[in-house]
């Protein structure tokens, strides 16, 4: 076989291999996405057309002879043949020009394309598909979806392990950390974690029924440790909780509807509300994630609940 063809095949195979590698390395590959398919088709066409055309002309260098009638002029001894333009080139040039005129004056305006319209259509289509496929998922599948949402939206601050990346954000493996409990007691809280409840007062409004006085620093430390430990251990803390906090959050810390949120464990309503409204806390301000739909919020909640249960 002619060395030229061999090189052509090697180059084509190498470039197509590189393209295959690029596509294969990405999750889902072409993913049924028309943009991916067109890009890969373009890349493949580029390699094949260039190699084919260059081989054609190099073959002419190897086997053909220069012929034709020379023009009268010669510039610094350079002549020019009066050969006609290559037929295929001329046809394609004419073809692209006609296509261009047609597309710009008829094809494009009649199609009435707009990029915002395209965006809206694609979003509506994806939403409809999502509704159809995922409206009723629950259990493990819901947790799977939640993990996917978490990795796309939450991990940037909360970390892949949901540990809050050294205090950058809340550690979601536990319901509450001691410093958060302390912060809330000292400063109060108005995050509407249930959607409608009254704000929680700061320490100047937290009355210990046993001592008959406002909550003290020692008591705050004790109760914070007790709550952060999952409502167990630290007996002094348990006592403070029973006499100061239980009236709203309930004796077991599981909260009361319309009054105070569950501080013993995560609940779907609580997480959904945080995602909807955002949250201000000891660490800082978490923005609202309104771009998530109701199902995605529910899924994120299911995933976070599964984390805090150590599942």
């Amino acid at each position: 076989m002619n060395k030229l063809y061999l090189w052509g095949i090697i180059i084509t195979a190498a470039m197509l291999g590189a393209t295959y590698l690029s596509v294969g390395m990405s999750k889902g590959g072409l993913n049924g996405d028309i943009v991916n398919m067109l890009a890969v088709a373009g890349a493949v066409a580029l390699v094949i057309i260039t190699v084919f055309v260059v081989i054609k002309y190099v073959r002419q260098m190897q086997t053909d002879q220069a012929t034709g009638e020379l023009a009268d002029e010669s510039w610094d001894n350079i002549g020019e043949y009066k050969n006609p333009v290559p037929f295929g080139w001329a046809v394609m040039f004419l073809g692209t020009m006609i296509w261009g005129m047609w597309y710009f004056t008829i094809g494009y305006p009649v199609n009435a394309f707009s990029q915002i319209g395209q965006y809206n259509e694609e979003v509506a289509e994806k939403n409809a598909k999502f509704e159809k496929e995922y409206a009723n998922i629950h259990g493990d599948r819901l947790v799977e979806m939640g993990e996917s949402v978490f990795l796309a939206e939450c991990k940037v601050c909360h970390g892949i392990a949901a540990d809050g990346i050294d205090g950058k954000a809340a550690n979601l493996n536990v319901r509450l950390e001691a410093k958060t409990v302390k912060g809330v007691i000292e400063n109060g809280s108005n995050n509407k974690l249930l959607g409608t409840e009254m704000p929680m007062p700061d320490r100047n409004g937290l009355f210990n029924a046993e001592t008959g006085a406002l909550i003290t620093d020692t008591e705050i430390d004790a109760v914070a440790e007790y709550v952060a430990n999952g409502m167990k251990g630290n007996e002094a803390g348990a006592k403070v909780f029973a006499n100061t906090c239980a009236s709203c959050h309930g004796p077991d810390g599981k909260g009361m509807e319309y009054v105070a949120p569950n501080i013993a464990e995560f609940t779907p309503a609580l997480i959904t509300n945080v995602l909807t409204h955002g949250k201000k806390g000891v660490i800082g301000k978490m923005p609202a994630f309104d771009r998530l739909n109701a199902k995605q919020k529910e899924a994120a909640a299911a995933y976070i609940i599964s984390l805090s249960k150590g599942e």
Binding site: T19, G28, D33, A71, Y81, Y134
Partner: protein, 497 residues
């Protein structure tokens, strides 16, 4: 008089040959440093954190692009003009004291401009417009340099003996007119000293600092009309001018088709200017302008390929020359890289493909298979052809030139294949989603995957730089050689072993 062969005067050509080589080394060296900074971020502070300001990617990047575009390439264009112009117009620079003065002034003012650009960009003084970073005083100096270039072109044409203009001269004229128009309109800028703050304070900026006269989307449009056509009239048109002279001259073959030359030239002129909108696909630019950019990009394939095909067909039946001469190899491979690049660009300019390609390394790869494989190869080939005729010495070493050719070819191949994989991978990963429709990767995931390709790109760039240093050495040894050539060779340049 008419019986005596004309002696051409290459004084100005020689000066620009020197800056082509020096600025080429500088620009490519910075490029290699940048490539390794991307692959290994610690290179950003290689001279310590105290000097990090001068070594970090953001400070060096405009120095790389401007040094290779306005240093290496422009010098190459000027050097070849002061060589080719005289010869195809059959008139010597020495015949006109005025033209010689203009030529030398052109060179020295250019040097002043280059110095001002290097100092100001290193100091971080910039208008922040890509490829148009120079502040207004430098812009004015560059306009003067450009006007001198134009005076030299039209002056030489004015006193020519050759009645009709060779195709290369047309391309040089187009270069002059195109860049003049682009440069003036994109660099319309207002010194910030003239600005008034919302609170009513005046003179809040510096006299030398300026901002674009256009705002927002309008600025983006003018910027990419400029940016894209700087590629047209800096990297395409003048380089085509070179190959139309140097390939037939070196090989002794007549151009395949006069008609193809003409149609390709006017095709390029009419189509190129409208394609810049493809840099702004899926942006705030009106849809119809984006579509126009894409359409003209696709039409542009044929006039671009026309010139390349004309060159390849000029070599019809001359394979033994391609095989024997590394100088001709540079030009033939340059044509094929030109074809590859000018098909790749339009494909990337199709909206749906651009949705993947935009902002990825695929674009960087596309630019570099054009500039390394086409612009760089062609300028070096031109200088190789000029050297024995300008210095009246045999080219120092053919085997060194051949080694350079293969080293640089490998460099270009490593560069564009690694960026091909990196770019497509990056684009696919940015779009990839899982079954629930959530994005599958974070940005850092792509960085991790791309790291080896960035390292390969750095190696590719380094090989190209090594080849360029071989080129510089070869030209230097030619210049200082004692192997004089008495009579100028009509075609094949004389080369030592």
């Amino acid at each position: 008089m008419e019986n005596r062969p004309l002696e051409y005067d290459y004084t100005v050509a020689k000066m620009f040959m020197l800056t082509t080589i020096i600025l080429g080394i500088v620009g490519m060296l910075i490029g290699v440093i940048l490539a390794f900074e991307l692959a290994f971020p610690s290179v950003n502070t290689i001279l310590g954190s105290g000097l990090a300001e001068y070594t970090n990617f953001s400070r060096l990047r405009p120095l790389h692009t401007d040094a290779v575009i306005f240093g290496f390439t422009l010098s190459g264009i000027f050097a070849t003009w002061y060589y080719v112009g005289q010869r195809v117009l059959k008139v010597s620079m020495a015949e006109s004291g005025l033209l010689m003065f203009i030529g030398k002034l052109h060179f020295w003012l250019y040097i002043v401009g280059v110095a001002a650009v290097v100092v100001s960009l290193f100091a971080g003084v910039t208008t922040s417009k890509e490829y148009a970073e120079f502040e207004w005083p430098i812009d004015i100096a560059i306009v003067v340099v450009w006007v001198l270039f134009g005076m030299s072109i039209f002056g030489l044409i004015g006193i020519r003996r050759e009645k009709s203009l060779y195709i290369s001269v047309w391309y040089y004229i187009a270069t002059f007119l195109g860049i003049a128009m682009l440069y003036l309109f994109n660099n319309m800028e207002v010194p910030t000293m003239l600005a008034t703050s919302p609170a009513g304070e005046t003179a809040i900026g510096n006299w030398w600092h300026s901002v674009s006269m256009y705002a927002g989307t309008n600025d983006a449009l003018v910027q990419w009309w400029y940016g894209h056509n700087a590629v047209a009239f800096g990297f395409t048109v003048p380089i085509v001018a070179m190959i139309y002279y140097f390939l037939p001259k070196e090989s002794g073959q007549a151009i395949y088709s006069y008609k193809l030359s003409l149609l390709s030239f006017w095709g390029l002129m009419f189509v190129y200017l409208w394609a810049g909108g493809h840099h702004l696909l899926y942006s705030t630019v009106p849809d119809w302008m984006q579509t126009m950019g894409s359409i003209f990009s696709v039409i542009l394939i044929l006039p671009s390929w026309g010139s390349a095909i004309n060159m390849l067909l000029t070599m019809k039946g001359e394979w033994q020359q391609v095989a024997a001469s590394p100088l001709i190899k540079f030009m033939v491979l340059g044509s094929t890289f030109y074809m590859f690049s000018t098909l790749e660009g339009p494909i990337q300019a199709i909206k749906s493909v651009n949705a993947i390609a935009h902002f990825t390394d695929w674009i960087v790869g596309h630019v570099h298979d054009g500039v390394l494989g086409w612009v760089g190869f062609m300028i070096m080939a031109a200088l190789y052809h000029m050297a024995p005729r300008v210095f009246k010495r045999e080219i120092y070493s053919k085997s060194l030139m051949a080694a350079q050719f293969w080293i640089q070819t490998l460099g270009v191949v490593l560069y564009f294949t690694s960026m091909w994989i990196a770019g497509i991978t990056q684009g696919m990963m940015w779009r990839a989603h899982d079954e629930f429709g959530n994005l599958a990767y974070s940005f850092i995931d792509t960085v991790t995957v791309l790291h080896p390709y960035y390292a390969i790109r750095g190696v590719g760039g380094l090989l190209y730089l090594v080849g360029f240093l071989l080129f510089a050495y070869n030209i230097y040894k030619t210049w200082t050689s004692d192997k004089e050539v008495d009579a100028e060779r009509l075609n094949q340049s004389p080369m030592g072993a």
